[in-house]
Each structure stands twice: as C-alpha cells, then as structure tokens.
C-alpha cells in the first residue's frame, strides 16, 4: 500500500482496534441443529437517532439455554428487550428487521403495522394478526432486579395467568403450585402463599419472578442478568432451577458472568458494540474461540 496516499478512513482494522462499527465482518455463526423457537434476523435497533444494534442474527433452539455475553454496552440487554417488544413502552425506540416466533414475525404485529401504515401510507403492509399483549404471554421476561408485585405470593404467580384466561380456584391452585415447584420455591413458601411477595429474601423474590414468568407457559423465557443482584448461594439455586426448567422451556439469558454462561448454557453468543461477533455451541466458543475479539474477552483481556 502506498503510505503517502493512505487516507485515514481506510486504515487497516486490527483485531483489537475499537473501530468496529465501520467494519463489515460477518458474525462467525454455527447455527443450532435443532428446531428454532425464536430467531432474530438482521435486527437493527435505535434509540432516537442513536443506533445500538447492527444487523444482529440470533437463533434460539428449543429446550436449550442460549447465553448472550459481552462487555458493558455491547447491546446484549438491548437485544433481549427487543425480543419481547418491551421497548414499546418508550417512544423513540424502534426496531427493524425480523424476529420470528415459531415462524411468525412478531415485529409486524397489528399495532405497529397500523402505525407504519399511517405514517407511510403503505396499504400493502401485512400484519401477522398478533396482538402485543398476547405476544408477551408467549415470551416471558425476568429482570435484573427482583420485582415482586405488591400482593401475595399466590397472586404474584397468578397475575399473568389471570390476564389472559379465566380459571377456577382449583385450576389456579394447580398452576400456582406447579410453577412454584418448577422454580424451586414451593417448599419454602407453601405455608405462606397469602403472605406478601415483598417479604421474601432477594433470591426467593427472583425465583418468585421466575415462577410468575413461567406460570403462563411461555414459549421462550428471557432473563436479563437475573443473578447479578443475588448472593452466591441464591445464584447457585437459580442456576440449578434454570437447568431443570430447560426440559420444558426455552431460555435465553444475558449474563456478564462468564463462568455462569459456561456452566449452564448450550449455545453462547458474544456481542460487541452492537454486533453479534460469534455464536457457537458454548464449549466451542469458550475453548476454541475463532474471533480474536472473542478470544480476548473470554480470556479476560478486556471486559
């Protein structure tokens, strides 16, 4: 290369250079072999004018745990929150691309399509007939900070179910017990179901949130750093719970704890500055990372 005439914009991008947003490297992906419950394709996301996700692909295999890792600000939480459309709450945040739930594109539900039609006047846009509220019952979410509702433990778990269906007391009792058992909380609370959810310890509250999330039998359960506010013992209990839940549910978990991702997940995606860098089966990603950036992150060179 001619040194004198090299413009700055085409300076070679070294593996550890931070100027990644301008690069067009394709993610290194090993797609799961099993059935995909949820899949994001070429997903962009922006807060107002600031774009935070760039063409992200995320395949989520049924009955597996998929982990998203990466340094702070890489967009893993943003990606998670784009999957169940919780960002709808905040005007000025929008996603483009495709998110397929069992093949149906959930980004084009009735409400958002109506808005797009109104804005662009395009009458050919098709909506999938999905109603956002019903959608959210199929994709559950557990947040970083335990958020028990100000009501009894029983009512907490029953809350989501009651939104969508009418159940008799007997039927609801069964659902509540089953959900609490699956969340490994039943033994600790079975005698005080009418006590307030706020009276539980941090770890118990988080498992209550898990029970609440799975009571509606979602197709996918999303967890955003669920153990970061918990002590090590509660964390271990939560991880064991998730490994058990995997039999019945599909789980996506965002975590900044690399050991946790290595312990419990089947697939792991490493993200950096809003892009999916590498997505591989967990053992392969940690033992033989193919991207230099991934290698630097999982060996602790930066984070």
């Amino acid at each position: 290369m001619n040194d004198i005439a090299t413009p700055i914009a085409s300076a070679p991008v070294s593996p550890t250079s931070p100027n990644i947003a301008a690069s067009t490297e394709a993610p290194i992906m090993t797609r799961p072999t099993g059935e995909l419950v949820l899949e994001a394709r070429n997903l962009d996301f922006a807060y107002g004018k600031t774009q935070s996700l760039f063409g992200v692909d995320l395949p989520v295999e049924r009955n597996r745990i998929t982990a998203l890792i990466g340094p702070s600000g890489c967009g893993k939480s943003t990606l998670l929150r784009a999957l169940n459309r919780i960002y709808d709450m905040y005007p000025g945040q929008h996603a483009t691309g495709r998110v397929l739930l069992n093949g149906e594109d959930i980004l084009s539900d009735r409400g958002s399509v109506a808005r797009l039609k109104a804005r662009d006047g395009d009458v050919t846009l098709n909506d999938s007939g999905l109603d956002t509220s019903a959608l959210r019952a199929r994709i559950g979410m557990v947040f970083q900070k335990p958020t028990p509702f100000p009501m009894s433990i029983y009512d907490n778990v029953a809350f989501g179910v009651r939104l969508h269906q009418k159940k008799s007391k007997a039927e609801m009792d069964v659902i509540v017990e089953r959900s609490l058992k699956r969340a490994a909380l039943w033994d600790e609370v079975k005698d005080k179901l009418t006590a307030s959810g706020l009276g539980l310890s941090g770890g118990q509250q988080q498992r209550l949130c898990v029970a609440r999330g799975i009571a509606v039998e979602p197709e996918v359960l999303l967890l955003d750093e669920p153990a970061s506010a918990l002590d090590p013992v509660s964390t271990a209990k939560l991880e064991a719970t998730l490994m058990e839940l995997k039999k019945d549910f599909t789980i996506v978990i965002v975590t900044h704890n690399l050991q946790q991702a290595a312990r419990i997940s089947d697939h792991t995606g490493f993200m950096f500055l809003g892009k999916m860098i590498e997505f591989r089966p967990t053992a392969e990603l940690f033992e033989r990372p193919q991207s230099p950036r991934t290698r630097d992150y999982v060996t602790g060179r930066f984070g």
């Binding site: 019952a137 939104l163 969508h164 269906q165 509606v216 039998e217």
Partner: protein
C-alpha cells in the same frame, strides 16, 4: 413441552382486563382529570375578571390608588387594602426570615441528631395549625398582651408628637398592622424554615466537610459556603413566604382592626385585601360593592401569582 396452560391463538381476543378499549378509557379519564385542574384555575381567573370588571370599568386604574371606601356613595378604592396587604406581608417577612434561617441552620448544623427530629416535627406542627386558630389566639391573647405591655407604655412614655410617638400612635387595643404582621410572621415561619432546611440539606456533605477541614467555624461554613451554594434558593424561600403571607385571611382578619383608610402608623388599624373580602362579601350592599370586592380579589391574585412564579423559577434551579 408440556401442555400449555394457556391457549393463546394469535388472533384471540385479549382478556377484558387489558382490552384496548379499557386502556383508552383509563387514559382518557386521567387526562380529563388533569384538564379539569387547568379548567378550575382558568375558571378562577375568568370569574375574577368578569366579577371585577364593573368596578374597574367604573373607576379605571384609579381604583388601585384611591383610598375611598364608601358603600353609600358607591365610591371604592383599593389603596387601603393593598397597602395593608403589602405592609403586613413585608413586615411579617422581615420578622420571620431571620427566625426561619436561624431555625433551619440550627436544625441542620448545630442540633444534636437525637433532638433534631422532634424539633423539626414540632416546627412542622406549627405549620399545620389552621389560620383561624392563629386568629383566635391573636385576638384574645396576643392583642390584649400587646396593648398592655407594649402599646400603652410607649404611648405613655413618648410624646405623641415626637417621631416615635407618631410611628406608634393608635388605639391601644392591640388590633393593628403590627400585631397582624406578628401573627403572620409566626404563620409563615415554619413553612419557610422547612423549605430552607431542605435547601440546606442539598449541600453535598463533601463540600461542608472540606470547609470544616480547612478550619472554618460553623458561622463561616454557613455564611461563606452553604448560603452561597444555595444561592437563588434563599430568595425563592423569601418569595414563597411572601406569597403565603399575601393570601392569608383568617389570622389577619381577627387582629388587623379592619379600617379602610390608609394606615398612618404601625400601630394603626388597617385592612388587607383578604380581610376586607372576608368581612364584607356576605353582606355586600350592592352589585358595585360586590364587584369592588371581586376586583380586590383579582389584584390579590395577580400579586400572589407573580410572587409565586418568581419563587418557583428561583427554586427550580436548586432542585437536585
């Protein structure tokens, strides 16, 4: 995957609890309530303008400067009540401000933590006492005491033509501009102390500790570091207190003597806008009388609005 407890068909109707209709209705209800608030305030302003218009139309702007008040000849002027309002409020402020500053500084800087809480609560209790109770106390306790122990001695010791004699002349019944200001001061004191205390608490502890660490005395920390830090907020507190005092009715009505003219001395009886309306409205003798009273109300509203708008602007800068 086990049998789903919930059958969610993509096109199923959502449960009643969160149907689109109930969402819209609830939001509309909340919005209506907020708008109702605006409408109420607008209503107050409009009704004051409409009601006071006849008086302003008849007297023009001279209404504000005239000291007449004669229901028989239908000649009304707002100067007496306006002057009374402003004088009592400013006097109350002069008395209350140093006290409020002192109380709040004491509570924040010097008071041992254990008794600071009870004292702060006691000061808040003072703020909660209804104005009519202040009024009664003023009329039956403060006024006679003032007449006996302050007014009479002054009148007896000083020649009524001397400067002091003239400033303090008046019927020695304790019902005058000065005692009304005193009562007002006690009323706005706890309020100003509370707001000022909160302002002082916004000073970051590092700043205070740095000042003390340099060897400053408490006085210097307060005067040279904390007060400047709080800055505009102090003026905001002053304006808030002023706004409160301007609108106070019952406490003043009992003890101001309720005469319409221009007060000639501190110990002369007078009137405020609020006390005049309170005393005369129910038995106003004619439409013009009523209109004059409402016009007074409009003047009071403009005054309080202006003061409060300034106070708010000054205090907004200090909200953390």
């Amino acid at each position: 995957m086990s049998t789903a407890a919930i059958d969610i068909e993509p096109k199923a109707k959502p449960a009643r609890a969160q149907s689109a209709a109930s969402e819209t209705i609830f939001r509309a209800l909340c919005f209506s309530a907020a708008t109702l608030l605006m409408a109420a305030l607008a209503g107050v302003v409009v009704s004051l303008i409409i009601g006071g218009w006849p008086a302003f139309h008849k007297f023009g702007l001279g209404f504000i400067t005239s000291t007449a008040w004669n229901p028989v000849t239908e000649d009304y002027g707002a100067a007496g009540p306006i002057v009374g309002t402003i004088v009592t409020s400013i006097l109350a402020l002069i008395i209350a401000l140093p006290l409020a500053l002192g109380v709040s500084v004491f509570l924040v800087e010097f008071c041992p933590k254990r008794i600071a809480r009870p004292i702060a609560i006691a000061v808040e209790l003072l703020a909660g006492i209804p104005s009519i109770v202040y009024g009664m106390w003023g009329l039956f306790v403060l006024a006679p005491w003032f007449a006996t122990h302050i007014q009479l001695p002054i009148m007896m010791d000083f020649d009524s033509n001397s400067l002091i004699g003239r400033i303090f002349s008046g019927v020695p019944n304790g019902a005058n501009i000065f005692t009304a200001s005193l009562i007002l001061a006690i009323m706005i004191l706890p309020y100003m102390a509370a707001v000022f205390r909160e302002l002082l608490l916004t000073v970051p502890s590092q700043v205070r500790e740095a000042a003390y660490g340099l060897g400053s005395t408490s006085f210097e920390v307060v005067a040279k570091v904390m007060l400047p830090y709080v800055g505009k907020g102090t003026v905001g507190v002053i304006m808030l207190g002023l706004g409160r005092a301007l609108g106070e009715t019952m406490a003043v009505t009992f003890i101001i003597g309720n005469s319409h003219g221009f007060p000639h001395s501190l110990f002369d009886s007078g009137s405020t806008i609020a006390s005049t309306i309170a005393n005369e409205f129910a038995e106003a003798t004619s439409d013009m009388h009523t209109s004059a009273l409402i016009a007074l109300g409009l003047v009071l509203f403009v005054l309080t609005f202006a003061v409060l708008a300034v106070a708010r602007a000054l205090l907004a800068g200090n909200k953390n």
